[in-house]
Symmetry: C2
Subunit: 457 residues, 2 copies
């Protein structure tokens, strides 16, 4: 083995617990962007962490939460960008956590905390990889590294695109490892080549100036009923979105895309049973099963995040609700445009007889993709083979959303994934955790990508 | 004027403020049956109040909240039953109250408190009428009086029917004044001859063992969506209930019923504008207007009291909700049977493809009616004329529900309404209140009904 990589492995073996402790300290700082909790303190903490690892770091103010940019000079002229975020999902429902979300605890070889995987563990694994590589390489970095750590990823990153456009000069780079990554059930890396886009809105209406007695239900217009009818007009039980023009810009998956997805399914046909067990699914949406569960990622979605109207306490309250609201997100595939979909949604509701329904934009991101034959994809596959011993699974598109479009387009770079995850991290759910051994392997993988990236161009 | 009635009026004129204070003390005791708050204490308070007015009172335990029965011997062999309830609606939303719901305050000739009208003010007005009549009548009551004061009216009176059946021997009587009554916009009494029935259910389902990331929305079954679709299958935008057989037992209103409703509308055509202003209505349900607003009381309803699913906090949370629930009430007209409708609802949901939707019974009451030509109706009209100076409005059916069926059938009695209400008491809503002058007139009216009832047989 290359002596530098042998040194990397020895360093990480010896110092692993130190980085798990650093992850725990980072997770102990709440930073719930949806609720505005702890954001400034967490940005400050990220800057301090970067500097403690010898990375020059600056905090940039935005109209939302600050963005922290770190910079480490390397020997080659090439720069790899790490995108991460310091904000986390809301921890609710709190009663389903075994230990409190912001009191990190190690149990059974796992670190439990909100953010342990998404996305605080990822950042610390990268810092560990850099420390290991410099230690093994006589103090030098083979390539330059940029960190962009934002605080609004979980609320659709409303300011990152503008930030990248305005700071293109200081963000010049040659490729990026995205904020998250990890391994599949076969223990091999999953390489994701792009996210779906998202459009998130609040749909609300008011039919009365105050709740009325339900004894008047034969004449009093109900906000709850109108919301139900308006939502039912958006999507049928066949999961087909009914907004006119919604599917116009959808690009059908290429044969190669489907081949990769079918290969992924063939490698792990147990994914169906695993999903059923993990989420207690009896019937998947639209009755899907088998390889269609993976192929369906090329279908855009219309999802209700939450609904609220009227009385939700114990017992009964005989009212006609005056107000109702729902949060809805659409996951968009190439080349759907969130702004176009928003306009079509509004037009649809008006045409369906709901001009009184208000649609408020909560956030959006475009879909984005990196070509399968990019050298960075090949480097990540090769180094993954060295660390994990097998072939990575390539996923041409993933179901979630992240602001890759904000970097990929303006900076003209390929973006891949590599990280600390596995299939049951419970990101966005109670008992989120990272497995310590996954963290260890991810640091080894990232170090190898950095080492190989220096000469990739 | 009859000297006894002159004495009644003088007594009430002199002592009115004492009874308003008594109402305030009664309202200061919270008794929210839906939330189980203060029920035992309020039952005890009612028993003490009755006894302080010289009425023998006993508390009966039920499987729910206690029922207080009061008994006062009169000179004639006839007994009038007062039905009341000491429970009140939940006070939420608290932020819309000008003064706190359980801290009664007099402003502008009105007493504001949760329960001031519904139904605590009604009980105290009856006690005032009895005090006045005995005072003016040499200490004697002309007829006997029974009080039945229950604590579960606002949660559909699940135990009153069984209680009446089991205590028919001690509840023998010849007629009843129901728990509530009042005047219309013309200042004349509204005489309601029966309520609609009600069926209240919770409709809930769970599609996942825990919330999933909305990036999996193309395959993860959503409880929120299934609830929306299940609800949308119950009622269309034309307000027509789609449950097969729902309308089978509906009796069309008789020509006389419609005549009375049309007379009521002709007396007060401003009801439409008043409702628009009071509740901020732009368009009534099913586009109704004019006299159809009153006639529609003969239409049964399907109302959503509340819906809740997923994330309802600020910002976004990108989840597919695992659970969803709605509270739904049906207002039933003669001769719909709540148990029959419940069975049809369950069958409908299963047949529509929602066998996973759970329907939990929260409560029910049957519809009930008293004939227009009953002597008690005529007595209430005549005495109303003496107090209010004009003709009562007769409403053959009212939109709300109350357990009249539990008394009317087993006891074989007519039931009418008379009370302290007016058209804007805000019962079931923030800033509930009773107008002090309405309270005064209601006490005078009740005293006259008691006086006349002695010889009615």
């Amino acid at each position: 083995m290359d002596p530098v990589l042998a040194g990397v492995d020895a360093y990480l073996e010896q110092h692993l617990s130190k980085y798990i402790e650093e992850t725990a300290r980072y997770c102990a700082q709440p930073s719930v962007s949806a609720q505005g909790e702890g954001m400034a303190a967490c940005a400050q903490l990220v800057r301090e962490m970067l500097m403690q690892h010898g990375i020059a770091a600056e905090q940039y103010e935005t109209k939302g939460n600050p963005i922290v940019v770190g910079r480490l000079q390397g020997k080659s002229g090439r720069t790899l960008l790490f995108y991460n975020h310091y904000d986390v999902q809301p921890p609710e429902p709190l009663e389903l956590w075994t230990t409190p979300p912001f009191e990190p605890k190690v149990r059974d070889g796992k670190l439990f905390a909100r953010g342990a995987k998404d996305d605080k563990g990822e950042l610390v694994a990268r810092l560990a990889a850099i420390d290991a590589l410099r230690d093994a390489n006589g103090g030098d970095m083979p390539c330059s590294v940029l960190f962009v750590v934002e605080g609004e990823e979980e609320i659709s990153s409303p300011h990152i695109a503008e930030f990248v456009l305005e700071h293109k000069d200081i963000l010049r780079c040659h490729g990026s490892i995205w904020e998250e990554g990890g391994i599949g059930r076969d223990g091999q890396p999953e390489l994701v080549l792009g996210p779906r886009g998202i459009l998130a809105v609040e749909i609300s209406l008011q039919t009365l100036s105050r709740d009325a007695h339900s004894g008047g239900g034969h004449i009093m217009p109900s906000a709850a009923w109108r919301l139900v009818w308006a939502l039912a007009s958006l999507k049928g039980r066949d999961e087909r979105v009914r907004i006119p023009g919604f599917y116009d810009a959808v690009q059908s998956p290429a044969p190669l895309d489907l081949e990769m997805l079918d290969q992924a399914f063939a490698k792990d046909p147990g994914v169906e049973e695993q999903l059923r067990r993990t989420y207690g699914v009896v019937q998947f949406a639209a009755g899907r099963s088998g390889k269609d569960l993976l192929r369906a990622v090329f279908e855009p979605t219309c999802n209700i995040q939450g609904i609220g109207s009227g009385y939700q306490g114990p017992g009964v309250k005989t009212i006609v609700p005056a107000q109702a609201r729902a949060k809805v997100d659409f996951r968009l595939v190439p080349d759907q445009d969130p702004e176009d979909i928003l306009e079509k949604l509004r037009r649809h509701l008006t045409q369906e007889g709901f001009p009184d329904v208000e649609v408020r934009l909560l956030g959006w991101m475009r879909p984005s993709r990196t070509p399968v034959d990019d050298p960075l994809v090949q480097l990540t596959q090769r180094t993954g083979r060295e660390v994990y011993g097998g072939e990575a699974t390539i996923l041409p598109l993933t179901g979630g959303s992240s602001p890759e479009y904000a970097f990929a387009g303006p900076l003209g770079i390929p973006i891949v994934t590599a990280g600390v995850g596995y299939w049951d991290n419970r990101a966005h759910a109670p008992n989120e955790h990272v497995r310590i051994e996954d963290f260890h392997q991810a640091a080894r993988h990232i170090a190898r990508i950095l080492y190989g990236f220096a000469d990739l161009g």
